[in-house]
Symmetry: C2
Subunit: 405 residues, 2 copies
Amino acid sequence: VSIDPVRVRLARVAFGHLVEPGRRDLGELIRRHGPVEALRRIRDGAANEGLVAAAAPRLAAGDPYELAERALERAERLGARIVTPEDAEYPDRVEQLVLISVDGPDRLRRDTYPPTCIWVRGAWELAEACERSVAVVGARACTAYGEHVARDLAYGVAERGWTVISGGAFGIDAAAHRGALAADGRTVAVLACGIDRPYPPGHEGLFDRIAETGLVMSEWPPGADPHRHRFLVRNRFIAAATLGTVMVEAHARSGAAFTLERAGLLNRVVMAVPGPVTSAASIGCHRALRESNAILVAGAAHVIDAVGPIGLALAPPEWVPANDQDRLTSLQARVLDGVRPRKILTAEEIAAAVGVSDRDARAALPELVLAGFVVVVGAGYRLGGKRDRPAPEAVDPAGPRTETG
Amino acid sequence: VSIDPVRVRLARVAFGHLVEPGRRDLGELIRRHGPVEALRRIRDGAANEGLVAAAAPRLAAGDPYELAERALERAERLGARIVTPEDAEYPDRVEQLVLISVDGPDRLRRDTYPPTCIWVRGAWELAEACERSVAVVGARACTAYGEHVARDLAYGVAERGWTVISGGAFGIDAAAHRGALAADGRTVAVLACGIDRPYPPGHEGLFDRIAETGLVMSEWPPGADPHRHRFLVRNRFIAAATLGTVMVEAHARSGAAFTLERAGLLNRVVMAVPGPVTSAASIGCHRALRESNAILVAGAAHVIDAVGPIGLALAPPEWVPANDQDRLTSLQARVLDGVRPRKILTAEEIAAAVGVSDRDARAALPELVLAGFVVVVGAGYRLGGKRDRPAPEAVDPAGPRTETG
C-alpha cells in the first residue's frame, strides 16, 4: 500500500467537515488505521455506528476528498491555511489531550481528542505561537475590575515576550487580547466558529488586528456557527496549547472552570486572580483557589514566575513519540507485553498477565494508546497498528522537524 | 519547703509589673524553679543578667509582693481580675507558645513565652471564651471593602456561636468586634496596653460594650502604654488562644502577617480573605495565600468549614502535662534518658547518646521542655527541675479542673 501524503492531508481536512472536532471514536480510528483508511471505513459503514451516522449527511452531499479540496481553496481565498498533524506547525503539545480523552474524569473527557485540522489566519507559525504561551480566560459578563486586571496582566505577559491565548469573546477574553496588542505583543484568538464568521459580532476589527501579527484560528470550517457546545470543545485546545491558564473572573458555573480543570489534568500551570469576595464575578476564581491547586496570581510577574522557570522545564505527562518504540519505559514495555493482538483485555487482566499493579497498568496504558501501540476497545485494550502491523499511512506527527531539528 | 499558693500567684502578678511579657529567660526560670524561687533569684541577682537588669528599676521601687498586692486591689477597683496559670480560667492553649519560643524561626520567637498573668475585664470565663474562638485580624488603615468583609464575617462567625477575638484597634479589628456584637455574639478584645487605658482613644464605648458580654484583656498592667513592640507580643496571644486566624486586609508589611505565621507554627488554621489585586490593603492577604498554607475564605461559612469540623478535632502540637511523667511517649522517654542533670548537651549529642535520629530528638526536646523535664541552656539542653528535684512550688497549670473535670 502506498502512502499518499496529499490524500492523508485531504482526509484530515475532510474530517473537519464531516464531524465535530474532538470525537474520541474518530481519533482512535485514525490512530489505528491512519486517516485515509479511517475515512474509507466511515464511508463504507465499517466504523463505530455513531461516527458513521454523524458523518452520513455530509458524505451524502458529495465526495469527501473533493469537499476537502474545495475547503483548501476556500481557505486560500480567505487568506487562511489549514494545519494538520502532518504539518510542522501543528502544535505537538495538544496531542497530550489524548490523556484526558482516555483517562480523564467523565465530565471532562467528552470530545477532547486532539484536533485533526485547524483553520489558521495570520502569518505566524502556529507551533511557535504556542511555544511560550499563557491562556487568559474568564467571564464574558465581567466587571470593570476584571477587564482592567485582564488587560493589565496580558500587557505584562506579552511585554515579557509571551503569547497571550484566549477565546476572542467579549469581556475577559477581549481585554486580554487588547492588553497584549497594547504591549505590541502577539496574541492568538481561538474561535469556536468559522474564522470567516467572527463571533461575537463587533469583534471583526479586533480579529483583524490580532491576525496582523498574531493568529486567529478555529477547528471548525468556515461558516460554522458558534454553538454553546463548541465553546467547551474549543476550550480544551486553549488548555492544551499553553503552558498555563489564568482565570481572571468567572461566575460560579463557567466554561473557564473546565478550561482550568483540563489544564490541571495536563500538568499545565493553573492560576486564578482573586477579587472582592463580594463580587459574584470572582466566585469561580475563589473556588478554583480553594478547591483546586490553582496558584493565586495578582499580576503578570506572578504568572511568569509560575509558568516561566517551572513552565519551561515543565514535565509534560509522560508519553513516547509515535514512531519510537525504543523509548518506551520499562514499565510501558512490560505492560505492552501483556496486550494481545486480537483479544480485548481490561487493564486489570493485563496487569495480572505481566505481574504489575493495576495502578501501574492504568498509568501505562493511556501512554501506550497515545503512542499508537495500543488501542482502546470499549472498556478494554488490544494491540494497535503500531506494533504488529504498522498503519500504512502512519506519518510522524512531528513532521519535517525531526529532519531539521 | 512549703508551697504557698497565694505567694505563687503574687509572684506571677509581680512579674507582670517587673518585665515585659513573653520573655523566654523568665519563662524558663519559672519552669525550672517555680515563680517564688524565680522571683527570689531575680531579686538576688542570681538569674540571667538581662532579666535581672530589666527587673531592677521596678524592684528598686519596693517589695514585689506588695506591688502585686496593690495590683490585685487595683484590678478590683477597676472591676477587673488577674488570671494566672494557677487559675482554672487560664487558657491552656496558650501554653503551646513555648513551642515557638524554643523551636520557632528567629524572627518569630522573640518574646513569645506564654503569659504569666492576664488582666481581664468582663464576667465571662477566659478559657471558655477561647474554647471555640476565631481570631479576625488585619490592617488599621483598611478600606471600606475590608471593613465590610470583617464585619460580615465576624457577624457570621459569632452567629454560629463562636467567639471572635481581635485586638481592639481601628479598622479591621473594630469592624470584627462590631460585627460580633451586632450578631448578639461575644467577642474578646486583647489589648497591648493597660485595660484602664483604652487604646485607641475613641474606643472606650466599644470596649465597654464588649466587656458587657465578652472580655477586654491585656497582659500589661493598668497604665501601660501601647508601644509598637507590644502589638507584636500581644499578637502571639491572639494566635495561640484561638483555633484559627483570619486575615481580612493587610498591607505588605504588617503585624497581622506575624500573627498568621505564628498561628501556622502552632498548627492553628490559617486563613485569608482575598480582595482586588489592585488594592494595596490586600497585598498581605494575597501573599499569605501564595506563600503560606493559608486557606482562602470568602465568608463565615468558609471559616467555620475550616475551623469547625477539623478545628475541634485539631491535634495540638504534642505535649505532656507538666506533672504526669507517665504520659511521656516512648520517644520522649527515650530522649529524656539522654539528657544529663548538669552537663549541657546539644540535641545531636542527645540523639547519639540514646540512638534516635537528630530529627526525632529535635522534635521531642521542645515537648520535654514544655513539660518541665528539660531546660534549654544556650544552644543545649539539660535536665530540668521536674525530674531530679521537683520544683517545690510546681502547680498543675490545669488547676482545679483536674479535680472537677
